[in-house]
């Protein structure tokens, strides 16, 4: 069942928040790609992306916020080789990941002990689609011949997505009653 209440217009403050988190993603990922090896930078960049995306969704709670975050982040990190692709390929892969997240977020409304499983599962699956989409966009033949490796990478991304989204939920849970978050929540109404 699609949750209609998630379809709301974005305020200026929502957009500013998404731009701010995407900017943070850009800063952190540029730093990591400079200091870490390609493997490590992939893991950490994806963790940061999943963490910040889940945090944004927890805060904004509107359909489209994840896709917007991925797209703005994708534009900011257009020329940074953090997730295995650059330019339009990266944007398309992130757009697809965003769509996967939105679909799960809208359809699967599931909570377990206050943990939003829809956001966690959405983040994990959207992270898992990134290497597959990137691989298929770059070369379907090469992807097919490296099928097992691609599957491994996808599974790895899934776990990173889970860690990122759970960590961001814990942070949000502890910050949700702070003055700044409350002010943001009520300034939107």
């Amino acid at each position: 069942m699609i949750t209609i209440e998630s379809f709301k217009r974005f305020n200026l403050i929502d957009l500013l928040l998404i731009i701010l988190t995407a900017g943070l993603w850009f800063c952190l990922t540029s730093f990591i790609t400079h200091v870490a090896s390609p493997n490590m930078s992939y893991i950490f960049s994806l963790f940061i992306a999943a963490f910040l995306m889940s945090f944004t969704v927890n805060l904004v709670r509107k359909a489209g916020s994840a896709t917007l975050f991925y797209l703005i982040g994708g534009i900011f990190t257009y020329l940074i080789n953090d997730l295995g692709a650059l330019r339009s390929t990266k944007l398309i892969a992130l757009l697809f990941a965003g769509i996967v997240f939105e679909t799960i977020f809208l359809i699967l409304k599931l909570e377990l002990k206050n943990i939003p499983l829809d956001i966690i599962l959405g983040s994990a699956l959207s992270a898992a689609t990134i290497p597959i989409t990137t691989g298929l966009l770059l070369s379907s033949t090469v992807s097919y011949s490296w099928l097992f490796e691609l599957l491994n990478l996808s599974l790895l991304s899934f776990f990173i997505g889970v860690i990122g989204s759970v960590a961001s939920f814990i942070l949000w849970y502890n910050l949700r009653t702070t003055k700044i978050i409350m002010k943001y929540e009520y300034s939107r109404h």
Partner: protein
């Protein structure tokens, strides 16, 4: 103190993180298989299980026939031939040129059929036996074709019975097949690279003839030659790209800072404006509030001063009429200015969205007396 529900929530979160972390560590563990972050879930031994199973079946068949040459059984040689046929078929399906492969396979077949020292082909008997026993029609067809090859081969083209040679030739086919697929991808990649460089106005003219030669060599099944040409073309493209970047950077540095970064500067300015707009608003409100407080205090002090002046003139008669009027005029002028400024500052401070505040303000402005019209 956290309640029970919260504790359970944290426990669930940490379990999820721990499990995922274990998964990440397992998948990105590089020291054992040296495959990087890709390749630790489906390991080579898993893939090889099915092939080892097939091999054990074949070994039992060998025991049935009991024919071994240089440690290679006839069954192994036949299996290698079938693999060669499969490779050939795959290449035909993928539109590769297969003249060389066909020739190599024919040689392998002839080595398999072969003639021994007595001038007889022991494999023919074996093939006929298999044709009789085989139930799979496709397999049966293949063995019949093998029989036909044996019958059609002229005497001067017959080869010595040599199973190791069959294995060597079929392995050569397999290697050529892999090389062909790899080269096809490499050609496609180098083509894409050349096109993208050409779009970026990089001079690729030196690499173009090499790419064309590589394509020709690939079409003519000269795979080693094609690989060498692709490598050379790649080096030339990289050189051209480096040169282009160098020239572009030189051009860039020849411009001044604003010319170089006007787009970034505008973007930063817009972002700063967006980010600082709420801050500017807050600062303006604070400043207005501060000024309002100051003016209100001034109004109070003016009224005290006016009272004092009136007392000095009317009661104690310490000042003259001219001094009194001069002072009072100054006070009134200042008061009038302040009363003009106060509503403007109040409007700045008030939130335009706060409709209650606006209506309250309107009521305040109505004054003390309200005229009610009788019905």
């Amino acid at each position: 103190m956290k309640n029970n529900n919260e504790q359970q929530m944290y426990q669930a979160c940490f379990i999820m993180i721990a499990l995922s972390l274990a998964g990440v560590l397992f998948l990105s563990h590089t020291s054992y298989h040296l495959t990087g972050i890709t390749g630790n879930v489906i390991l080579e031994e898993n893939i090889d299980k099915s092939s080892s199973l097939q091999l054990s079946k074949r070994n039992s068949l060998n025991q049935t026939f009991g024919i071994v040459l240089n440690n290679i059984t006839r069954e192994q040689a036949l299996h290698a031939l079938l693999q060669g046929e499969a490779d050939l078929e795959q290449m035909i399906n993928d539109n590769f040129s297969v003249l060389l492969i066909k020739d190599t396979l024919l040689l392998a077949k002839r080595s398999f059929i072969g003639v021994n020292i007595s001038g007889q082909s022991p494999a023919l008997k074996f093939i006929k036996l298999i044709i009789q026993q085989e139930k799979d029609s496709a397999q049966k067809k293949y063995f019949e074709s093998l029989l036909q090859t044996a019958e059609k081969t002229p005497v001067y083209e017959l080869r010595q019975l040599n199973y190791p040679d069959v294995l060597r030739l079929t392995q050569q086919i397999s290697l050529k097949k892999n090389q062909a697929y790899k080269l096809r991808d490499m050609l496609s990649l180098i083509d894409d690279k050349e096109k993208s460089y050409a779009v970026d106005s990089i001079n690729t003219s030196e690499a173009l003839p090499l790419i064309a030669e590589a394509k020709k060599a690939f079409a003519e099944e000269r795979y080693d030659d094609a690989e060498a040409k692709i490598d050379s073309a790649d080096i030339l493209l990289d050189k051209a790209s480096t040169e282009h970047t160098r020239v572009a950077e030189l051009l860039l540095f020849s411009k001044n800072f604003f010319q170089r970064n006007w787009l970034k500067l505008i973007a930063i300015l817009i972002i700063l404006l967006i980010l600082f707009y709420p801050l500017i608003k807050i600062i303006r409100n604070k400043y207005a509030q501060h000024k309002l407080d100051r003016l209100r205090a001034e109004v109070e002090s003016l009224s005290v001063l006016m009272k004092k002046t009136q007392q000095e003139y009317f009661i104690s008669k310490h000042i003259s009429e001219t001094t009194y009027h001069l002072r009072m005029e100054q006070y009134w002028r200042r008061l009038a200015r302040i009363k003009h400024a106060i509503p403007v500052l109040e409007a700045i401070i008030a939130d335009p969205k706060d409709t209650n505040a606006i209506s309250r303000k309107k009521q305040e402005q109505q004054g003390a007396l309200e005229v009610k019209i009788p019905k």
